[in-house]
Symmetry: C2
Subunit: 233 residues, 2 copies
């Protein structure tokens, strides 16, 4: 390889260090938050209808399966919330709209007999972004994908791990926007590596092998505050 | 959000600009190339056997399906090669080894009636990295995953597009290392966004909706040189 290539690589490595070991990445477009209204408990959603832009505060649950080398496989149930910024749609036609989303906050809590308490939070070093795709007919399902970056804190193991490849949350059976009380979400993944925040350039210390999730009801402001201030460990 | 958070975000954005719009990301560990022998035509592989580290030059073919908004869906056949650096395995036991790989070069060429000639090359701004997982029994299949970043050059459309989320090449039926003459590869993806290199922060200009691939025979040095020097447009 040429000296210029080498120098370029070294410069990139150096700057990458400044940006943060995790990369500092946006997986898709950033949704402008200015002018988007926050939606809480009491918000109604209509099926098969393109909802105007907003910021949804929704309860969230998931079941994640991890493998940890030398320790085995563990299935953990999580509960918490996520805050999703939905941009204004390009059309109100259920079969034509284009709509971008960002997850701007996420907190989940779970407990495992073997791994102890686990907290999940949004990784601030990546922009978790996604899109809702229109249905092919007026009573058909829309489809959703969100590339998500999180941190799993496992205080009992003294570990805090994160994903470098997105956890692709998806749902091919979306009948309302947002998909409230919809248990059909899953992550499209295969042995997704999770890296130690204390040694981010090292090899994976765990793998995420399965994730199923559901978006639940709108939360009150007080419920959101209560979840936001909770922590593990 | 606090002023410190805002300042941190702005600083990250600024530095990200210096690093390169594409992020400058490593999706997994870097394989050290020093001491790894390049393997060409004539190299033999034994089934169900953990091969010592090396750099494989293999023919590669794929069938990719793209959707381009306003233009429709297109299936394109590609042929070319990839160069894969395989690290030294941690064990010679087919049921226990751990082995990391990087794709360090990739070139594919295809042609579509509608989209014209298309060239695929490795994205130099990301480290395409992966792992081969051991089988659960001596005659069982190993599994492979490689998170891959590429650039699709479409000169007829005046477009050069790239993926920000990895294209996850995978194969759950690996019976030799490397998987020579193995047509069983596919990418695990759902509407993977492809971004315009001329406007990387904009919305996706195409989506990759399906990718199937096969790793073929070892190539001669002359064949590799010939593919490396070919270009589209």
């Amino acid at each position: 390889m040429s000296e210029n290539y080498e120098l370029g690589s070294q410069l990139r490595e150096f700057l990458r260090g400044l940006v943060g070991e995790h990369g500092g990445v946006a997986w898709g477009p950033r949704v402008k938050l200015a002018g988007l209204k926050e939606n809480f408990e009491g918000t109604k959603v209509k099926p098969y209808t393109v909802t105007p832009g907003g910021i949804d505060n929704l309860a969230l649950h998931s079941t994640d399966v991890f493998t940890v080398p030398g320790r085995g496989e563990f299935s953990v149930d999580f509960k918490g919330y996520f805050k999703v910024a939905r941009d204004h749609p390009t059309s109100t036609d259920w079969t034509k709209f284009e709509l971008f989303v960002n997850i701007i906050d996420l907190k989940l809590f779970g407990e495992s007999k073997d791994l102890g308490e686990i907290g999940v939070s949004l990784n601030p070093d990546v922009l978790s972004s996604g899109q809702i795709f229109p249905a092919s007919s007026p009573q058909g399902s829309a489809k959703c994908r969100i590339a998500t970056g999180v941190v799993f804190d496992m205080p009992q193991l003294g570990l805090s791990v994160f994903n470098k490849e997105p956890i692709l949350l998806m749902n091919e059976h979306v009948t309302s926007i947002p998909p409230v009380d919809d248990p059909n979400g899953h992550a499209l993944l295969f042995m997704l590596p999770l890296f130690d925040r204390a040694n981010p350039s090292g090899k994976a210390v765990a793998h995420l092998t399965s994730l199923r999730y559901g978006a639940d009801n709108y939360l009150s402001e007080a419920e959101v505050k209560s979840i936001q201030t909770r922590s593990v460990g």
